[in-house]
């Protein structure tokens, strides 16, 4: 195998030193020669390459740099070595602009300012996006022939049908948890029977819809953002525009409609699964038979609870779909953006859903739907 790169310093008769290089000046065998050449402080007059076995561009670069810094002459270079030296010295640029690197305080201020600007422009863009979607919906309502039924049905399948398994299981388990916690706490007052009130009212009014919304945001909101974001990167959306297809009509409206239609259905299904879970726990732990459970449930759960859920669900669905599609449309540049915007879509959707849920809770209490 070839020898590692090495060099010796020798004094010249007329003052100064000569560096005698030997071994392989190649990337794999360069070892610590770079650091030692850099640390060299002697007055080097000549660099002798006659004992160098092999050289590649990295070796040539080291020789070139050392020669340039010390003003030394290169002697004994073979044909290949001279060609390499010529190549790297041709590629040497003395004026490489350093990467801009402002002080940290300045950077901090710049980042704060930047994020404020981003927040406001995003808000404006989101409003503009909602406007586009509303406009597209009206245009589609006027020209039903342009409506993409096929896409809507496909999204029904993706948002609704394929979510049944996971949402059902999750709601069933949440029903069990509510019933179990309720039973333990209420038993202290001898009021276990109120567990049924807890299950009935909580699931229909709040948790059934809210948990479904979170699940749909995680499953479908993220998928919307990723799908549209990828289409943006592959220029599919630009292609659509040039063909005369409006992306808001073709991509956003079907997804929003699918989410708006599926959310109430999923919400009812989730509430029922939670009640089944709670009912089973009541039966097993509190020994309340199913018939009594159902009868009691019908007495204590007002119909308004059901309607509250049904009013909230489509609103949440619209928010999730819009946030997903909007973030997807915001993707620019590279693949990393798709991931970032998908995360942003889910976070934004869940945040907005919870904020709105709080408003709804106060609103419905105020109008007397307790």
């Amino acid at each position: 195998m070839a020898n590692a790169a090495e060099f010796l310093q020798e004094d010249l008769t007329d003052g100064g030193q000569i560096l005698r290089l030997s071994g392989s000046f190649t990337i794999a065998l360069i070892g610590d020669v770079d650091g030692r050449l850099r640390a060299l402080s002697a007055n080097v007059q000549k660099i002798d390459l006659s004992a160098v076995e092999h050289m590649d561009t990295v070796g040539a670069w080291l020789v070139h740099r050392t020669a340039k810094e010390s003003g030394a002459k290169i002697v004994g270079a073979g044909k290949d070595a001279s060609r390499l030296l010529q190549a790297v010295s041709g590629a040497d640029q003395t004026d490489i602009p350093p990467r801009p690197h402002p002080p940290s305080f300045e950077r901090f201020l710049a980042e704060v300012g930047h994020s404020v600007i981003i927040s406001f422009t995003t808000l404006l863009q989101f409003l503009g996006f909602v406007g586009q979607v509303v406009k597209a919906s009206f245009i589609l309502a006027m020209n039903p022939g342009r409506f993409r039924w096929h896409a809507v049905v496909q999204h029904f399948d993706m948002v609704g049908v394929r979510a049944l398994g996971i949402i059902g299981l999750m709601s069933f388990l949440i029903g069990i948890v509510i019933a179990q916690q309720g039973a333990v706490q209420l038993r202290q007052f001898g009021a276990e029977v109120f567990t049924i009130n807890l299950i009935g009212r909580l699931t229909f009014r709040e948790l059934g819809i809210l948990m479904t919304a979170i699940m749909v945001a995680g499953r479908s909101g993220s998928a919307f953002a990723a799908q549209i974001g990828t289409m943006k990167i592959t220029e599919e959306i630009d292609a659509m525009r040039t063909i005369g297809v409006v992306p808001a009509e073709a991509l956003v409206v079907p997804r929003v409609i699918a989410a708006v239609m599926m959310m109430p259905l999923l919400g009812v299904y989730a509430s029922l699964m939670a009640i089944i879970g709670g009912g089973i726990l009541c039966w097993v732990v509190l020994e309340i038979p199913p018939a009594t459970f159902v009868q009691r449930l019908r007495e204590v759960t007002p119909m308004t609870d059901f309607w509250i859920g049904m009013i909230k669900a489509p609103v949440f669905g619209a928010i999730i779909a819009m946030a997903g599609c909007f973030q997807g449309m915001q993707v620019h540049g590279n693949a990393e953006q798709v991931g970032l915007k998908t995360t942003a879509a889910v976070v934004q959707a869940i945040f907005l859903v919870i904020v709105l849920d709080a408003f709804f809770a106060i609103f419905f209490s105020e109008i007397g739907w307790n």
Binding site: I27, G31, T57, V58, L84, A87, A91, Q93, R99, A335
Partner: protein, 272 residues
């Protein structure tokens, strides 16, 4: 030690499900040559390259690179071979979250973790310049570069560890004729300066005429011919005839001849 063939592929078979891509394909790449690989779309040129560099597990066959078997190699066993080659993918395949200079430094850091930051920066800068990019491209991100610049940045990364073997997948596709010709010259210069062996997949007839020492033709699921273009022209195969004898093939040939044998009367001194 110094075997004449850098790559040798024997009896390679590749298939995706029912679809057979390669059937008993043989190919040898000699040290120090530029081998052009041509073939119609979908004949498995890229699949051949992916098989050689170990990204695609073939159904059967033997592949040796630098006299080492490449089939069913574990990731860590292949490192020694990997540090001796560079690959330029079709789209450049630059890491989109890193700047061009950082992209070039990735293989250096990976294979030579002892190199100092200063040396890494120096190497990255001259490699970028050697690849024909302006100096200020070093701190740009791939999304800020044009298609041609991205290819050059990809080439800079492929050349980062001073490989002996370079794989180029359609390097001139999507470049304008001037850029493509420059890239051809760059490839040839690098081959001559650095003593590279180049495995070059291309559709570009001008590239074939300009820089390839030998050309391998893939058709009917195997390499049907390998040789200098003159030798290939003598072979009577419908695809080869159509490829080199079609309007574009003839044009590239004329351009090549004109370039090499300029009209003599222009250079003759006056006779009177």
């Amino acid at each position: 030690m110094d075997q004449p063939n850098i790559i040798s592929v024997q009896g390679l078979c590749n298939s995706f499900g029912e679809q057979v891509i390669h059937q008993d394909l043989n190919l040898e790449v000699r040290r120090g040559e530029i081998l052009g690989v041509v073939g119609g779309s979908g004949t498995g040129k890229s699949v051949l390259m992916r098989s050689i560099i170990g990204l695609q597990e073939p159904v059967a066959g033997k592949i040796r690179v630098f006299d080492e078997g490449m089939i069913r190699k574990e990731e860590d066993e292949a490192t020694d071979v990997r540090r001796r080659w560079g690959v330029l993918f079709q789209g450049g395949a630059l890491f989109s979250t890193l700047t061009v200079a950082e992209n070039v430094q990735v293989p250096l850091r990976e294979f030579y973790p002892d190199f100092s930051k200063a040396l890494l920066d120096e190497i990255a800068h001259y490699k970028i310049y050697l690849s024909g990019l302006p100096a200020d491209a070093a701190h740009k991100f791939p999304s800020e570069l044009s298609g041609g610049m991205r290819k050059r940045a990809g080439l800079a990364r492929a050349l980062a560890i001073d490989p002996e073997l370079l794989f180029l997948d359609e390097p001139t596709a999507g470049l304008d004729p001037i850029g493509a010709a420059n890239f051809d010259n760059l490839t040839r210069d690098l081959k001559e300066t650095l003593g590279l062996t180049v495995f070059l997949i291309t559709h570009d007839l001008d590239t074939l005429y300009a820089i390839c020492d030998r050309v391998a033709v893939i058709a009917d699921k195997k390499v049907i011919a390998v040789g200098a273009i003159e030798e290939l022209l003598a072979i009577d195969h419908p695809w080869i005839n159509e490829y080199f004898g079609g309007p574009r093939g003839r044009a590239a040939r004329r351009g090549h001849d004109r370039h090499n044998n300029p009209q003599p009367q222009l250079h003759q001194p006056g006779r009177s």
